[in-house]
């Protein structure tokens, strides 16, 4: 029995990684949920929007590094993030003008917009592969650890080390700032309120003189900011690869739906629900249980519920369970 070591091991391998991953998913799901609330369709290009934003950020990072600019102990990518957001926002506004606006005017069925977003997904995926290729790209620089595992062991004298990576802390802080800004914007500013009004009741909002094109444009800009931030944080934490970002679509949609499509709070909650279940179910619990159980009962297997390759199955199973028992999600979202 050694609960202290068990807690440290649990935090190191489960809680902290899941917290970071959950924050990344939450930011992604917020983008999906906003588009769903305002534009009323499921945007399949969202994963590739994240990839696109991250690509621009990486290119700007390289540019900054080439000029000799650095952010000290923090990754340079954080300085490049505004450029990434700007580029993505311009691109999204362009796709809205050239592509989505036409279907909005026609009042096309949501499912048509979903298929259109599939086309946009292809184009964005092609552009990203075209510009930056399909390889794994690591672009995190600066200090890697705030506390590294050995220092922690020396400090506390515990058997288990606790490593706190810079990227984890950056993810949590940035995500908290982004969410705080978003909620302040939605709840306190006039534009934010008009967005919520438009989302709740389009006709009534139009009747009271809200300009729909302005609401839509601002939505895209916010989505660009959220998607780019989510993509950059994920890339800093792990690495950037076009295909991985496309695959993030599934957990992100699962988060948004589990929380209730159209509900921002739901998206955040959903992100953490999905992240924690994915990490906990694919983690090999041998070590933690070894510290917790009396020696005679120590498990000899890995005590891993499922291999890590099945992480999609976890988000999927949670999605199905929530849909069957509470079809509008945890925080009553909208339904079309």
């Amino acid at each position: 029995m050694d609960p202290l070591n068990a807690i440290v091991a649990l935090s190191n391998f489960v809680l902290i990684p899941a917290l970071a991953y959950g924050a990344q998913l939450a930011l992604g799901a917020l983008g999906v949920t906003l588009i769903y609330g305002i534009l009323r369709f499921s945007n399949f290009a969202h994963g590739d929007t994240m990839a696109f934003g991250t690509m621009i950020t990486i290119l700007s990072t390289w540019g900054l590094q080439g000029m000799g600019v650095s952010f000290g102990v923090l990754p340079t990518a954080l300085l490049a993030l505004p450029f990434g957001i700007l580029g993505t926002a311009l691109f999204l506004l362009l796709t809205d003008r050239t592509i989505y606006a036409f279907y909005r005017k026609q009042r096309a069925a949501p499912v048509i917009l979903v298929i259109v977003s599939m086309g946009v997904m292809f184009v964005m995926n092609g552009i990203v592969r075209f510009v930056i290729g399909v390889d794994d790209i690591g672009f995190a620089d600066g200090e890697r650890f705030i506390i590294n595992a050995r220092d922690f062991r020396d400090m506390t004298g515990l058997e288990e080390g606790l490593a706190v990576r810079t990227t984890t802390v950056i993810t949590l802080v940035t995500a908290a700032i982004a969410v705080a800004l978003l909620f302040w914007f939605l709840n306190r500013t006039r534009t934010g309120k008009s967005m919520r009004a438009y989302s709740d009741n389009e006709d009534l909002a139009l009747l009271s003189g809200i300009n729909p094109e302005r609401v839509v444009a601002i939505t895209w800009i916010i989505v660009a900011a959220l998607a780019t931030t989510a993509g950059v944080l994920y890339g800093l934490d792990k690495s950037f690869k076009a295909f991985t970002y496309f695959q993030l679509l599934l957990p992100i949609f699962a988060s948004a739906i589990v929380g209730g499509l159209g509900s921002p709070i739901g998206a955040i909650a959903g992100g953490f629900v999905i992240a924690f279940s994915e990490v906990m179910i694919t983690y090999a619990w041998k070590k933690v249980l070894g510290y917790m159980a009396p020696e005679a009962l120590e498990p000899d297997g890995l005590v891993q519920l499922m291999s890590t390759d099945y992480k999609f199955a976890v988000s999927f199973a949670i999605l199905i369970i929530v849909l069957l028992f509470r079809p509008t999600g945890l925080f009553r979202g909208q339904s079309v």
């Binding site: 292809f122 739906i257 199905i320 849909l323």
Partner: protein
């Protein structure tokens, strides 16, 4: 009608030009995969065009067809069966029983928090019991000669039987998905199918006892003769000589033509069935449901049941195509299944061809597959032209030429967006 004939003639001309400029071997390869793609598009059209069901898990059903090809054609590995086959089958049956338990119990248990907890405890205990039986069996099976087998093998039947079996496997998966997700909203079905496709691929990649996972199963038997055998057959050599082409080219062309013949037969049968279904009262009912669900329900049509029916049928067609494709490949490589290629490309085929029109889907399948293959050489050529003025070995030149390979996705996206914008009903619109 005339429009269709003209477009099909143009497609034939396109293949003819490809044959004359790039060689017939390449052209028949394109045609064969095009025919398989056309069948996949037909399946998606059944679901989307007839009934408005948004299935983006095509990849999963294609992969199940591929699995069927292995399970049917490969000879059984007797050693693996005796090592752990029975225990493995027992474990799977146990797993099914554990899952079936609560479904049967759920309605009888009194409502309340405690019954939920009991259920959870039951499932958890059941899971560990299942894993204990299952893991032991898997370990034994995978230990049997892992370099060449390490799996249970198949039935050792001719591979042609895999095609219907692929349809059956896909239909079974479709039933399970449809039962849970079809009552829900359309975009939930989309996400559910997307998820199940990823899970099917994950299973194929990881469960080595089933089809060797990422170690792949290569050298599947063929429904057509091997080139080498043809080249040693005096009758064939004589015929090749009389055609005036050398034996190696002749044998390769013969094999590809034989595949094309088989595929055309399957495509024709499915197309006729789909056309009959479309014109029948059942087809009219499906379209009525698609166009106005509420009205159809008011007329006494069981919408959810009909949706389930057409979802299963469409998925079965996709499964058949998947088995045919693996047969043509001669190997199952789970690592190569990618949603952009197997799900979204098929969707481009259906939309471009004309959703709701079977002939349109077939045309879309052939045309878009041709484009998918040809975009790469075209992109390379384009890049060569663009970069011809640049200095040899410049960074941009190298990058542009490498990037030409990624032109495919961009082109497909642009084609899809253009068709949706300017001709949303596709090349051959539904009447």
């Amino acid at each position: 009608m005339t429009r269709g004939l003209i477009l099909y003639a143009l497609m034939a001309l396109l293949l003819l030009v490809t044959g004359l400029t790039q060689g017939w071997s390449v052209t028949f390869t394109i045609l064969n995969y095009g025919l398989v793609s056309a069948i996949m598009a037909l399946g998606v059209n059944l679901q989307w065009g007839f009934a408005g069901l948004f299935n983006i898990g095509v990849m999963g059903f294609v992969a199940l067809g591929g699995l069927a090809a292995v399970l049917t054609s490969v000879p059984p590995v007797a050693e693996a069966w005796s090592a752990g086959g029975a225990r493995l089958i027992g474990a799977l049956a146990l797993g099914a029983a554990i899952i079936a338990g609560p479904i049967a119990l759920w309605r009888r248990l009194p409502k309340g928090k405690s019954s939920g907890l009991i259920l959870l405890a039951y499932l958890l205990a059941g899971f560990f019991l299942y894993r204990w039986v299952f893991d032991g069996a898997v370990e034994r099976v995978e230990a049997v000669n892992p370099a060449s087998t390490g799996y249970l093998g198949g039935l050792g039947l001719p591979i042609i039987f895999a095609w219907p079996l692929g349809g059956v496997l896909a239909a079974g998966a479709a039933w399970a998905i449809g039962k849970t997700a079809l009552g829900l909203r359309s975009d939930y079905l989309a996400i559910a199918t997307l998820g199940i496709a990823e899970i099917i691929i994950a299973v194929l990649k990881n469960e080595d006892w089933l089809a060797r996972g990422v170690k792949n199963v290569a050298g599947l038997p063929r429904p057509v003769p091997y080139e080498v055998d043809l080249q040693q057959d005096p009758v064939f050599l004589e015929r090749a000589a009389s055609w005036g082409i050398d034996a190696i080219t002749a044998s390769s062309l013969t094999v590809k033509l034989a595949y094309a013949g088989l595929f055309v037969v399957v495509l024709a049968v499915l197309l006729i069935l789909a056309q009959l279904a479309l014109a029948s009262p059942w087809g009219r009912m499906m379209r009525a449901i698609r166009d106005n669900e509420v009205a159809a329900e008011a007329m006494g049509k069981d919408v959810t049941r009909r949706h389930l029916q057409v979802f299963i049928l469409g998925s079965a067609v996709i499964g058949i195509a998947g088995a045919m494709m693996t047969t043509l490949d001669g190997q199952l490589t789970p690592g190569t299944y990618q949603p952009l290629r197997y799900t979204f490309l098929v969707w481009v085929m259906v939309i471009v061809g004309g959703s709701g029109n079977n002939f349109g889907s077939v045309l879309g399948g052939l045309l878009i597959w041709w484009l998918w293959v040809m975009v790469e050489p075209m992109g390379l050529w384009l890049m060569d032209v663009i970069t011809s003025g640049m200095s040899e070995g410049s960074w941009l030149r190298g990058h542009l030429q490498d990037a030409a390979a990624h032109m495919r996705l961009l082109t497909m996206g642009v084609v899809l967006l253009l068709v949706l914008r300017f001709s949303p009903r596709g090349l051959l619109p539904e009447r």
